[in-house]
Symmetry: D2
Subunit: 428 residues, 4 copies
């Protein structure tokens, strides 16, 4: 395939995925088409439940949402052969290419999910001008995962075409539900990186301009996202207040005390009760209160400390008001430091690509979270190397903004650099 053709295909893929955004664990159309493409190329595939540990799935959609998404995917061009593998909401894919030559196992992580954001209707927005605006109200690829998926397919294409130049084994990991840091853990726990020597996650944008490249992005905060429900007992607030078990009082006191958790001397921590909804009437003792909480830590240990304190507070608040409390972890990510040795190799590869004007060995400015860290920690734990790279691109608006858009010129160089990395690492 000519470079020009590949560029066209990358753009077409990206725009197709952009037009049909799917939320985490619901990437059924996307995954079925990805699987179709990888299958055509000749990768050997592991799909859905085979590559996801069910018990480690966090923030799973409701059964109703899953059923509706199956129908929607069918109606919007999903591949009917592969859709069944994903229709229970386990939408991960691992595609493996054996080069037949001895060498290490190199894995690339690609994420596929969109966000619950309504894409801007402003006429100047490129997807509106060029006709690939999200057709789904309230859902949008506003973080670039559409481009990631396209890059993943482009990389697969190149790897297959030039397989004769490669050694070892190459794995492409298409992960669901990166948003909310929900999907990676289930794939890591299913063991998909247990044989991996080199692991590379990549992201576009992230305040890095077009033509720039970061070989190792440190600074991701560990995080836990928690949904909490207090269940008490209602009673008439005027007639029999003593018969109630006030779930709102439990939640209010929990909210205060969660924010009062001491700072940690080892580094930054965060905790936020983002939402609280309780009660069902003015003169009824509230029997239910729902809270949405997020905590973060500069290290996984700090995040774990905050999480333990939050759980103590929640249990204590329940005890105070004779409530039951249900705590669900709906997202979690670790902190992970990139392997410097791997970053240096990639730094060199990228530095030689004509499109890359500037490469940075290490960046630590981020204060967000990423669940690719689960893969990174798993690989490093067994002695492998892992890093998280960034391909800069110019953005129309920041990530998670309704006017987010990328400069598509990043697509081809990203594919080529990643291919170069696979080739280089095969020589190790």
């Amino acid at each position: 395939m000519t470079t020009e053709d590949l560029t066209k295909r990358l753009k077409a893929w990206r725009r197709d995925f952009h037009k049909y955004p799917e939320l985490g664990f619901l990437e059924m159309r996307t995954a079925s088409l990805v699987a179709r493409e990888l299958s055509s190329l000749g990768f050997s595939l592991q799909l859905g439940e085979e590559v996801m540990e069910k018990s480690a799935v966090m923030g799973r959609p409701t059964e109703r949402e899953i059923e509706e998404q199956v129908r929607w995917a069918k109606d919007h061009g999903a591949d009917v052969e592969f859709l069944p593998y994903f229709q229970e909401g386990y939408t991960g894919i691992v595609a493996t290419l054996e080069t037949g030559r001895e060498g290490p196992t190199v894995a690339f992580r690609v994420d596929m999910d969109a966000l619950p954001i309504h894409e801007t209707e402003k006429p100047g927005h490129v997807p509106n001008q060029e006709g690939f605006r999200s057709i789904v109200p309230g859902k949008m690829h506003a973080c670039g995962h559409d481009a990631h998926t396209a890059i993943g397919l482009g990389l697969a294409t190149l790897l297959k075409e030039q397989v004769n130049e490669l050694s070892g084994t190459i794995k492409l990991i298409f992960q669901p539900a990166e948003e909310g840091t929900r999907g990676a853990k289930a794939m890591a726990e299913a063991g998909v990186v247990d044989d991996v020597d080199y692991f590379i996650a990549s992201h576009i944008g992230m305040d890095v301009p077009l033509g720039h490249f970061v070989a190792s992005n440190n600074g991701f905060l560990a995080t836990t996202k928690m949904d909490v429900t207090f269940k008490g007992r209602s009673s008439h607030a005027g007639g029999a207040p003593e018969e109630g078990k006030d779930a709102l009082l439990a939640a209010a006191t929990a909210t205060l005390n969660i924010h009062a958790i001491p700072r940690h001397s080892a580094g930054a921590s965060r905790v936020n009760v983002g939402e609280l909804h309780a009660g069902s009437g003015r003169n009824i003792i509230p029997d239910k209160a729902e809270m949405i909480i997020e905590m973060r830590g500069e290290t996984s240990e700090i995040n774990e400390y905050v999480k333990e304190q939050v759980e103590s507070v929640l249990r204590g608040a329940a005890t105070m008001y004779n409530n039951e409390v249900e705590i669900e972890i709906v997202g979690e990510a670790l902190n992970s430091r990139c392997s410097k040795e791997l970053a240096e190799i990639i730094h060199n590869v990228a530095g030689k690509h004509p499109f890359i004007e500037e490469t940075v060995l290490e960046n630590s400015g981020s204060s967000g979270s990423e669940d690719a860290t689960y893969f990174m920690e798993a690989v490093k734990k067994r002695g492998g190397l892992a890093t998280y790279v960034i391909f800069g691109t110019d953005l129309a608006a920041g990530h998670h903004h309704e006017e987010f858009d990328i400069n598509e010129e990043v697509l081809l160089p990203a594919v080529e650099v990643l291919y170069g990395v696979a080739k280089k690492l095969g020589e190790k």
Copy 2:
């Protein structure tokens, strides 16, 4: 009109109002038909804004709700001549009958509003069997105000027919929005009882069986219903928590401290934060929190004490988190003791009615609230007498229950006793 005819009309009126329930301040169809009927009978009428002090209206519906109700009323048989008087949401009526003979001014209070309850769809429910079920999903006459309105019209009919037997002046006060104790204050402050010597409010049911009568019902709790909004400032909980002004923390601490308001040594008090809704995302400092609060007191003074403490707590919580707090009183009622002298007169009148098997001079079991107390206190303040009577009737289910229904046999005796009271008091 024969007794039989009157009975038929009472039932027809009650069933019509039952079928077309309207919430507080939105009783546009009801009020227009009531006004039409009273006008036909020859009462002199004061309507809408003429009998309601706008600044004292509590818990007024939104403009949109008001506009929609006007349309609905037009489509469902409202009287087009009288509807304009009520279409701004001021749905009170005062109908006056001058007998031409010297005597005191006697006033009767009638309430007209329905509840936001979805009427049961069970086939056995009488309104379902007999075809007068509420046609409006989610709205229902579940407290008997449909019957009250019918009784009011029946009383008007009888008063007019037998005006020659009466002395003094008789006023019928049709009040909106008794539910939530929102409507009486505006009519009392408009002065509609400022010339009244004897005031009688009446209610059916209330755990009093058919054939029984209560001449004075004491024990209503003073109450204030409050809607509160904390307005802070949102910020990213991870990136810039210090820039936020957390409305949820303000509301949570307010909730705890409101419940911690000391008991009052002079009698029972209640306070309840019935609902709290705050926040707009897991990792966003909440910029808004809404609370729904109710307080009660065995006396108006106790209720006022609790209210003042609640306001102090709310202002303090706003100060703590640099929030603004908006406090809206959406309902309020006083405690009021019935005039024993008036109760005794009515007790005698009722005792002579053949349908009344048992009359009770005073009842104090209630722990609810009623805003008829505004009229009562106003009348008593200027030296008049006031009471609150109950006509017992058998109920299919308790007040405010979706299966609530009355035994319509109560309608005629209620009209006749009230007529008898008007006649008797005219002689004073």
Copy 3:
């Protein structure tokens, strides 16, 4: 003994006890002298640990306080024969008189303890004028228990002198530590009223004027007095805040939530965190917090409800901050209704005494607490009758006031009425 002599002795006893006040469970001098007197009169005695269930003692003084009191008592005229019975701090006495004639068992309760109040030094204060001011700084008989003890001894004298006119068995129960409602429970649980048919507790004053008498005083509130200690772990607030377990945060959140316990619909309740002391330095996470709490209820059930809620809150607060919490009940009293049948008998007896101008059958105005209720409930439970009577007397200042003083004219009539009651009940 002539009436005049008895009057003199009553006054002498009362003034002696007044001069040497002893706090609860430390009434060693008092009890030893009471025992000496009763022994001389020929009552059979049960003393100290024999009549007190140790495990039910609440608010016991420290060992050091007990040791110091033994020394003080020895130095201030305690009876050396009887002191050993009381020197462990179990200072109750039961004195029994068998008349030898068949009849019921009648018991009278007498309390002996003083208060931690510094008696006024104003010259006009009668004890100052007449030389029987408390010799112990900070301790004072400011509630009349000095008079009660004198009346008890006077009653014993009269009973013994006129034993031939009596029937059945008479028990005099001298109770320690009524203040703080700490002492009665231990005697009741030791079974001292398990054979009692009629039980009479008495008090002087209580806003009842001299010459008036109340045959049954209802309205005592049930109460629990609780001392609470949170134990956490200190750490440097700057250097390692995460290593602390903040006892002050636990106590602060407990304080708020204890006050937020819902009102009870069945009657009045109270709860107060009277004191909180926590922490040991500005930059140290507090490892200890001490709270002093009191709760009350219009009925024992309401008090029990509040107590259970308080305990839940305390346990929850400990859970929140990984603290341990120690809860000690240091005082407790029940609510108890007087037996009307017994009150009527006593009402008649008292009505005939020439000094009593007015007798009231029932009084319910009190809002204090009394642990005589333990005896009352125990007697009633096994079918006996019990009441609480008041002998009015004029007070120089209210109970528990530093200028409290009684009119001693009440002493003799109180003795005579109680004697009359014993005689009358013996006839039953």
Copy 4:
């Protein structure tokens, strides 16, 4: 004076100050002896109120403490000529040496106060062995300020002896009350460094071993120490709870919400309610609550942010419970970065001293606070340079420990290095 003689005098001074420790603003004996010495040497002196802005004094002792200290100082060898300058509790000294040659103004800061710590009675403790243990129970030089004062006097001696080798002006600033970060602000606001070009504060120990030297110690946290009193109104918790204004509830809710102040994204912050004492009896609504609070920030801005939030919370809590709140700042320090240019000069000077084995240009490990930062910021603001140096010495136990003791070998090199710095800077 020979080096040997100077060494002896340094040791004698240090041991004398150690034996007679005085708390902050009460260094009356110390200051009078320092003034005497400096006066003898010929420095021109400014004393007491002349060099302290009264309104900026924080955490001033009570009048009684001041009066008692005057007596104590008189009894323990204070200089009677100079004592009057300090007897109001303003114990600062500025001693100025004009070399007569043109040159910059160089200032050295010396702190003089001791700690409220009881010196160990262990026989092995050197001050016990050598007879210079603190004679004041509960007070001790456990931070090395005794040595600092001795070094200051040694430096004065050397400067005077070798004044011919110096240029410019040299100021020695003897500061009271460094502990609690209370004294520097008042001297800085009195303008004592307003003419200073180079400012050097020094400290011994601080985990730096003997023979080592740090030319600039960064990392001091900004801090505010606050004493807070809530004043409400007491009432009987059983009889009239509604009449109380509960100061404990105000303080408890303030405590919780102070700990709930959001983290700051720009760096570490701390806040601690170290002590809370409230209430005066079990059944009394608490009318007073006292809190001791400390906050810190990685920068002065962060500390200021926390302080503003704390004040909002306190005001809000007072509003909630109709309390008054008194907020007293009893200590405060800034964060300040050392001037690199000055540090480098000093680094060179120290490096040449034979006793100094190792010099560190910059150290940032500290997490304590220092109010020398007030002087540093004032000097830097007007264009001068400032730094904070450390002379390492071996410690028997950590700072603020009851067994704290230094290796006195540090004294002479410290004097000589500081002298060398004065000389070197004079050449600028």
